[in-house]
Symmetry: C2
Amino acid sequence: MPEHSGVSRPGGRTARTRDAVHAAVRELLAEPETEITMAAVAERSGVHFTTLYRRWGNIESIVLDLAVERVTEESPVPATGDLRADLTEYVHRLLASLRQAGTGTLLQALLAAAGQATEAEQVTQFVEPRIEQFQSLLDAAEVTRIDGLRLVELILAPAYLWAQFGAPLDPDADTARLVDTVLAVARDPA
Amino acid sequence: MPEHSGVSRPGGRTARTRDAVHAAVRELLAEPETEITMAAVAERSGVHFTTLYRRWGNIESIVLDLAVERVTEESPVPATGDLRADLTEYVHRLLASLRQAGTGTLLQALLAAAGQATEAEQVTQFVEPRIEQFQSLLDAAEVTRIDGLRLVELILAPAYLWAQFGAPLDPDADTARLVDTVLAVARDPA
DNA sequence: CGATTAACGCAAGTGAATTTGCAATAGAAT
DNA sequence: ATTCTATTGCAAATTCACTTGCGTTAATCG
């Protein structure tokens, strides 16, 4: 028996196939015409489609898996204490990442999964760290009139909405507006 | 030849089957356990599933069709000139409608379709009227520092995001916050 | 090093979703 | 009335997503 509890064989074959699958999905997402199907991912990754079904169950879970990974790695939240500077840097990077090809598909997987109890745990992995990071940002700037959840509403909500509508915001043109909104509310919440 | 251009036979059989299908989908959406499939809609509506495929092509289009209809009828935007009162009334009704059973499915259809060029026209039918109504509301209140698009970001975006995340906002507890946000930004946009 | 077992590859099978050809029906025009 | 044609109903066919059983590979432990 390899292990009684915890993750089994994390650095071996399991990790290799997961990486191969993630890489394949990234490639497919970058090709707007290509549909993301189990068959396509299997072919591109070299991993048998039976394996995909056994480990993930359906294509949405695979995409969600990647979505959580990618969003986390691409959008670190700064917390230097300068509210405007931190927000500006973060929002600018966020909007830029939302303009990459395939972002719509990723967001759809994320939000579709969010609604279903089955995948709720995976989504929590995405939302909670972000709220905490936002809270850290606010704490560093000694802002107490709004909280992390409010930042989600004022920044992530509009950014994601436009991205999903196929009209992602422009990092250079729209960052200031979103940041100014937060500053206005932080100054005058009621 | 019935007609050369324009809508053909709008009040006849075509309209009846569309109504039957819409009614069936409304029923199915109200039953949380039931999956919305072509077969289920066909059985419930009495319309043959072949007809569904021919007219809509897929189940998503059918749900989108209903989503556009329902959102429009359920969320009229008041414009009496009292900004706070108008917003409060509208947001309260919006949040209440987002708590109805099946709303998640409807939103998903709406936002999924939004990303695809094929359905873009149908989605425009939903977004544009809403922006215009918001603009009327602002005009009535003689507010010039923000526009209809901004209201979409500050109200619809957070409301839809939480609804999609399976945690729709509470009409009584959360309306004031969303309204206050708008008022704060209208007062101090930068 | 050898035993153990989780994860994988493979091939066939199952079933639901979707398509297609043809006949029947019902608005609309003449 | 009758004619025409868009729309629907029906049944058969087909495609595709997904599952299952079994043999193989490879990672971990003693």
